[in-house]
Each structure stands twice: as C-alpha cells, then as structure tokens.
Amino acid sequence: RYIQLRSGQPPGKPEILRCRSPEKETFTCWWKPGSDGGLPTNYTLLYNKEGERRYYECPDYTTAGPNSCYFDKKHTSLWITYNFTVKAINEMGSTVSDPYYVDVANIVQPDPPENLSLQFEKKVYGEYLLLNWDPPSLGDVKSGWLTLEYELHIKPEEGQEWEKIFVGQRTTYKMFSVNPGERYIAQVRCRSDHGSWSEWSPQSFIKLQK
C-alpha cells in the first residue's frame, strides 16, 4: 500500500490590476494571479454593489480574454460603486485579493481617435499644416453622452521631442510654424471628461515641398 503525500501549496494572493470602460456603457476588469502553488488553480471574481450586501459573480469570464471579467450594458451601472475581490482556489486552499473599488464614470479610457490626416494649406493669411481626425468609432461615441477632448503630438521627423498640444473638443488643428521641405510626424489621443487618456493613434506623416 502506498501513502499518497499530497504536494503543492495554497494559491498565492491574486491582485486586481485595473478596470476600464471604453464608452461609459460597458467595462472590463483584469487581475494578476498569484502563484498557483503547483496545483491547478481556479479564479472567481465576486463583487457587491454599493448599498447592497448581496454578492454577485462575474457575468462573463471569456469575452475579454484570460484573467478578466467583462460587464455588458445590462451589468454596468453608472450610479454605484462596485467592490471587487478575486478568489484563487486549489486543492490546498484558497486566497482572496484585496478589495478593489470601481466607479464606472471614473474608469473611462476611450479607444484612440481614427483617420488622422495631415495636409499643407496655403491661405492669404498664412501657410499651415491642417490636421484632421475622427473620434473612436467603438462604442459609437455619441456626442452629448461622451464628451471627448484631444491632445496632439507633432514633430519634425528628426526632432527629438514631441510638441504636445491640447486642443479641447475640436477634431481639427492648424499648425502655423512649419518649415518647407520638412517631413512631419503626428499622432493624437483622446480622453473623456473624468477618465484617462487613450493610447496614441497610429502615426501619420507628411513631407512638405520646398
């Protein structure tokens, strides 16, 4: 007869990394697992809503990829604070993350703006580089519901530093001080009134004639 010595440890403490809403209508949270103690380990995300004792489980572990929880419109409320914890469980025991509070209005990070274009214009009052872009199409950014502000990065190709220009809610910008013959690179990002900046858009280029 053999004595089966069970090897392995209870799981390490998972950590909720961040939550993000691209358009104030849905949101996703991600966590980082702790050590799995050498054993198959499962993760459960639980949350309760402000003013309620009851606990709910993550409605969708798959849409947003591994170690994530996705909340669709039906599960997303603008009016409450969510309190999340992630529990790691294996044969040897379980460990719970620290609580993580979320107010959806404050975790808005839009997708980058799209279709950034540069063109050179000569007018009676001056020559300038005209930049145009569109709001992110994801989440059907509806004017009046999600107010976006934009920030530009522009520099001559060999330039070391980006010139950073905040342009508020506009989706066009005229840059007057440009050098003929120069090649310029630009990119643009956006944010909602309380949220964080999106990633930068892909870069766009223009080569000005001499």
């Binding site: 402000e50 603008l78 409450i80 604070t81 309190n83 404050n106 519901w145």
Partner: protein
C-alpha cells in the same frame, strides 16, 4: 484602488449622481428633440397634426410646474418624485415605440437608432433617479406613482393617417416631457448641490 472618491462609505457622491443625471437628461432631451423634428419633417408635413396634438399626453394627469416660480416654490423632494413619476410613465411607451416604429414605411435608421437609444438611456436615468431619491429621501422610494400609457392600439391602427398621428403625438409628448425632466434636474442640481449658485 482604495475608495475611488475617497468617501469613507465608498459611495458615488450626490453631486456626481446629479452631474451624471443632468448629462443624461440633456442627452435624452436632445435625442427626443431630434427624433421629433425628423419624424415631423418626414411624415407630418401638411397633415395638421399639431392642432390635434393638444391635451393628449398621457402624463398630463401629473401636475408639474409650468414656470420658474412654480418650480422654485415646490419642495425638492416633491420635484424629485415628480421627475421619477414622469420617467416611470415613459418606460412602457418607449418600449413599444422601439418595436412599433420599425413598422413605419421606409423609416430611416436614424429614427430607429434614436428610439432604441432613448429607451435604453431613459431606463438608465430612471435607475439613477431612484438612487438619488434613495439618498435624498429614502422613505419615498416605496410609492411608485406614474401615469399609465393607453396608446399602444393607436400605434397599430390600420389607417395610416391615424397611425402616423399617434406616433407624432407620442414624440411630441416625449420631447415635452424630456425637456421638463432636463429642466427640473438642472434646477434641482443647482439648488441641492450648488446652493442655487450655478
């Protein structure tokens, strides 16, 4: 992070709740004005609907302030409850608007999309208002006062003119009521959060 807005009881503040409610009511009213104008231009020209759309909103039984003085004299709890009642009164008609509007001949996507969006955002605003009333005067949440909407049969009438008038009237009342809600919420926000000094 620790409590996002630092409050010990970890709640969304009343000020933030009102900010979001006002932004939403403004958005709903702008959609309601747009959908009315679009429908009016496309389906109501020359049919004299405006003359018939009088005294015909299902929410007219709810006595609401009709000018600044009345709105400022009414106690904020009563005005909050009125907003709740008007919002609740629109749950049912907006649900049917979304399904019935699709049956209108050559209805443009822009009208369809707005009907869906208004219905979704109205529900969201109602959820927010219930949270706000729950904060301001919890006892009040129990009684669900609202006006029943009898208008579904009219949206399904065979006679096109009558059916189009039923839509016209519903959108006319939606524009009116969404403007009331937006106006009252902006007033309440200034009164309760900014001490009437917006």
């Amino acid at each position: 992070p620790i409590c996002p807005n630092g409050s010990d009881s970890c709640q969304v503040s009343l000020g933030d709740l009102f900010d979001r409610a006002v932004k939403l009511s403004h958005y709903i009213h702008s959609l309601s004005a747009e959908i009315f104008n679009e429908f009016d231009e496309r389906y109501a020209q020359g049919r004299g609907f405006i003359a018939k759309a009088v005294n015909s909103c299902h929410t007219s039984s709810l006595t609401t302030p009709e000018d600044k003085e009345q709105a400022q004299q009414i106690h904020h709890e009563d005005l909050l409850n009125l907003v709740l009642s008007v919002l609740r009164s629109w749950n049912d008609p907006l649900l049917h608007l979304v399904s019935e509007v699709q049956r209108i001949k050559e209805v443009p996507d822009t009208i369809l999309w707005k009907a869906v969006e208004i219905e979704a955002q109205n529900k969201r605003l109602l959820e927010g208002m219930e949270r706000i009333v729950g904060r301001v005067h919890p006892a009040d949440l129990g009684n669900e006062v609202y006006s029943r909407w009898p208008g579904l049969p009219a949206l399904q009438l065979a006679d096109e003119d009558s059916r189009l008038f039923a839509f016209y009237n519903l959108l006319h009342c939606l524009r009116r009521d969404s403007h009331k809600i937006d106006n009252y919420l902006k007033l309440l926000k200034c009164r309760l959060i900014h001490d009437s000094n917006c």
